[in-house]
Symmetry: C2
Subunit: 645 residues, 2 copies
């Protein structure tokens, strides 16, 4: 269902019962852009990534919010879906409401336009919103104004003129306004003395004339009258209505005005209430590659994002206590081997075929039906729908590993629990997720080196430097520094002994680089230099081609030996998965590592090396919904392919 | 005529002859926002205003450019008008084209939406553009790539594999791709050895597979073949075409490719050529309140804006050697007394009535007709049309002062010359324009004081401090500093002697304040602190109400005594104007000051006090097109008017 400011109030009334009945809630956001100045890097730490997104992505606008509420009907063994596609826009509704500035990224606008995204609808009919702090500040202002108005209306001696903190002295009436004001005063005197009418409507006039009218009339009639500015028939017209009113009348009017002004603030809070409602239900919230969505949702509709990742984790855990990311699921065993590409579109395609079984989903009566046949990709409501069905399909697949197999697995089932509160770290090759409820994994980056060099250097200069070793992958940070990643990890220890250091360049280990950053900024979330040079200079960024050189399967053998996490919660499933896997493909290696089933929480005292995640990068790079669209248009090709030779 | 990327090339062909025939060219721009962080202040110096706009406004996008070409037909005594309404958008057309980020201001978007502005059309069909530097950089890259491709295509030994600076070693073929590549090689061998066809179309495949195909085929067939990547039938599909080709064929193909790539860059420069064309004609360019338009046009379509105002003046003089601002004209004698409000809309209304006579304007055949009846306000093409007719009307009015009266005055006539190259300084109360071809006027600001105070202070705290004096107007700079302007200039000398200085606040003269800024930043264009508090705190900004307290006419007597500029070029007109004025209204004072006719250029060695400009502020505040729309919604009311008391 399309929801704009026109039907929002109606929809809002229905939401509590719909949300409270949910099995889970799938969400998706569409933004005016992705990143600005600081670019995410494959070697970001979780802290660094959070910091980059907070500083570089929050200035873009979440302008469409998709929400699909999935409710399981036990009798009919199917999901009933309530789909919503909310348009949101920060209309500056009053002089207390901040006039937002937001960024747009040409490639993102271009991308959405190619999917017929309706920007006019966002800008014209978007639902307004306020953060909690903005709402409170506006209410405070309304109350302050009320007190001031009441004082002025009731105590004519204190302030005989126009109501404004500055207008302690009445405004001098300019010569050319004298006739106008004299006529107004005569008319009002007449109304007070000779008319039986309760109200008098003055002619529309300018703001300044109204100001003079207020003070002049008030000076002549200290009590018994109430003057109100009203909108005239023509656009922009304003006139004053003069009403006979006792102090009691005035007090009542002012009280009503206060209530109505406070109601207006509630209306202005608009869409933010939907987020509050979702949060209050405590239901599982499902998204695909959900980190940016969650950050935007909190930033735009709830509160300022905290400075550190650990505070952010706490915040998210409060607002969305059960978060699920289908990209994390799809990239983890037992799904990983079945799902070659984890982009939403490709994921959906894969999950339509064996060994997966899509659950039956019917749209609630009165709601327009999304189906995967009517491709509405990149409409937030549709993407939320697809995400929800993908989640339900994957959840059910886990049930097939049980003995006896279970037809449906709920989002709160302990089979799903290992996936709770993990958010995919887009394009980080060796660290598949941020763990919201515990410390993050620490992958070994001993085969990664940091190099600084003169800005004239090009890719081949770095390659020449590393020529004695096997293939390297280069990831540019800015035009005078880069990460260099060895294809052959065994050479890691040789580099620092054998590499040629020079007066103009310096190579250091990833560890030393991080340490130097940490020493330079106690924050531990240092910003990587602001201007990535690749898209500007057209230099190839080989790091993006790197995954192509890491053939799938090659790392498989590392999985069990290098990952030493342990998660008792998934023991049952692990055994079941191993069994199932064996029965399906007699030649397949038996899974023994817990990590092959679930993202394992590891204690921060035993840092892990997590190499298997490497395998998913080819998917994320080649097939992710973002890389196929916006990211790919971002001046960055995977490699510089000639159209002919 | 609506111009988008669909019909741009056609229109571009016609433009040179249309522009070369012009009497003058009226322009107007529509933007995604007006200002960010730094707000223009009524006490900006010209340098400061330029700096604020350059740093705070250029991040917004000029997305619609209106251009009306007015050509005078002598025989029929009328103008023939070619109206154009260009939609522009920085599509990221290639990986060499920067992926722009631009800002939007909610209130501006809201405002344009209320006039049915079509954002979808901008984003979907906007004409691309490049600055000169961007264009040159893209061409350079195309040529570099050409050299590289030619080397690689011709010299198979040097680089046997895929063409990329990083691919010095061929890519290892992963196990799962071996079958695919074997099949491709077999197919190509077959084509070379057994087929009579000239070309072979391979199956669509992934980028990585194409990379492997390139290197494998090239390894087997060092010469005689040319492989080209082409777009397939389905969206996103890419396939390789293999063609039999000699080295000569290849060279020709590559040359054609170079030419076509360079043509693509020319196409990407798109709309920028329109600006180049306008500039090359040297025709008078007319706008209303033109400063922001000119800055955006140069910034977006020509080159980076220079850091200083003086360099900017030089740049503008080169690109638009004859600039005319109808807002400057309307606010200057002999128009000022006839034109109460200088907002475009109000100006147009005024110029329809006596003593003004609108010239006849007919739309060129085949072009849609704008008329003031079909209100398309805030469509750039319409606003340019209205601006042009206002200009022509005002120009002709000047002719009526001559003896004998002249029916039509051309934009290059010496009657108009005094208005050349002056740009209105929006909301600067005492300085009506920036002079592009000379030093700027220096108004006396002896009655203005700068005050710093604790951020808890509100308007009434400042008022209390100044309570011993007559009314003051307060203009907030940020939440701990403001300008205070005396209504009664005679009190100026009393302030510093009598004002109470305190440990928490400090009052200084405007002159001292400027001096301290100048000492702090040698730039002389200091940025005012970044966060204006007014819209956030809801505190009234009395400076905006100030003009209401300066009754029109009161300053008239200052004109001749205080402005001592002299401009021999307008001597004739001055005399004529004086005569005319006298004959029209026997009671009217005779103009004797040259400034009452034209904005006078004064030498920088004799600073002037220019008070008459005060008179125009009531107009610009109450009736300007911007203040009535976008600006007024920007959280800033002229004063805090209660709706009732």
């Amino acid at each position: 269902m399309e929801v704009t400011k026109k039907n929002f109030k109606e929809v809002l009334k229905k939401l509590p019962s719909i949300l409270n009945g949910a099995s889970f809630i799938a969400i998706d956001g569409e933004f005016t852009g992705l990143h600005h100045e600081v670019r995410p890097s494959p070697y970001d730490t979780p802290e660094e990534r959070y910091d980059k997104l907070r500083k570089g992505s929050m200035d873009f606008l979440l302008m469409q919010f998709g929400m699909c509420v999935f409710k399981y009907e036990k009798q009919k063994s199917r999901y009933v879906v309530h789909p919503f596609n909310f348009y949101v826009f920060p209309h500056p509704v009053s002089n207390r409401k901040p006039d937002h500035r937001f960024l747009c990224q040409s490639s993102s606008i271009d991308f959405l336009t190619s999917f017929n995204f309706d920007f006019n609808k966002v800008f014209r009919d978007g639902i307004p919103y306020l953060t909690h702090a903005e709402k409170e500040s506006m209410k405070e202002h309304v109350r302050e104004k009320h007190v001031l108005f009441e004082q002025q209306a009731m105590n004519s001696e204190q302030s005989p003129g126009f109501i404004s903190p500055m207008a302690k002295k009445p405004v001098e009436i300019p010569a050319e306004q004298k006739d106008f004001i004299d006529a107004v005063c005569k008319k009002v005197d007449d109304f007070v003395n000779n008319s039986e009418e309760a109200t008098l409507k003055l002619e529309p006039c300018t703001g300044f004339q109204r100001k003079l009218t207020f003070q002049s009339v008030k000076a002549r009639h200290a009590s018994g009258l109430m003057l109100t500015t009203k909108a005239g028939e023509n656009k922009g017209d304003r006139y004053i209505e003069v009403a006979k009113a006792t102090d009691e009348d005035k007090r009542n009017m002012l009280k009503k005005k206060l209530e109505s002004d406070l109601d207006d603030v509630e209306d202005a809070a608009g869409f933010s209430k939907v987020i509050d409602l979702i949060s209050s239900t405590g239901k599982p919230v499902v998204g695909h590659n959900i980190m940016l969505d969650v950050m935007h949702v909190l930033h735009q509709f709830s509160c300022q994002l905290p400075e550190t990742l650990s505070e952010f984790k706490e915040l998210v855990s409060c607002v969305f206590p059960k978060l699920l990311d289908t990209k994390v699921m799809a990239g983890t065993q037992p799904f990983k081997d079945q799902i070659p590409f984890t982009g939403l579109c490709e994921l959906e395609r894969t999950l339509k075929c064996a060994p997966f079984t899509q659950p039956e989903c019917v749209t609630a009566p009165g709601y327009p039906t999304y189906s995967s046949e009517t491709d509405k990709s990149h409409e937030a409501g549709y993407d939320a729908f697809i995400t929800g069905t993908c989640f339900a399909t994957m959840a059910n697949y886990l049930g097939t590993f049980l003995d006896p197999p279970r037809g449906r697995v709920t989002p709160t089932c302990n089979l799903i629990e290992p996936f709770h509160n993990k958010m995919s770290l887009f394009r980080v090759q060796d660290l598949p997720y941020i763990n919201l409820t515990g410390p993050d994994l620490t992958p070994s980056r001993d085969h990664v080196f940091h190099i600084t060099f003169p800005s004239e250097w090009r890719t081949h200069d770095i390659q020449n430097l590393f020529a004695p070793f096997s293939t390297v992958f280069i990831n540019w940070i800015d035009n005078s520094s880069a990460f260099v990643c060895l294809n052959n990890r065994d050479e890691s220890k040789l580099i620092m002994k054998n590499i040629e250091q020079g007066p103009d360049h310096r190579v250091q280990t990833y560890k030393d680089y991080r340490r130097s950053l940490h020493n330079a900024t106690p924050d531990s979330s240092p910003m990587v230099a602001a201007q990535p040079s690749t898209s500007d200079t057209g230099v190839v960024t080989p790091s993006e081609a790197a995954p192509f050189r890491t053939p799938r399967g090659l790392k498989r053998t590392h999985d069990s030996s290098e990952v030493r996490g342990h998660d008792p919660e998934v023991a049952e499933l692990t055994a079941a998965a191993a069994k199932k896997q064996k029965s399906m493909d007699p030649n397949a290696p038996v899974f023994v590592s817990r990590r092959s089933v679930s993202p394992v929480e590891v204690s921060s005292t035993s840092p892990q090396t997590v190499k298997e995640a490497d395998q998913q990068t080819i998917k994320s790079l080649e097939a992710d919904k973002d890389s196929a669209g916006t990211e790919m248009k971002d001046g960055k090709k995977l490699f510089d392919e000639p159209t002919s030779w």
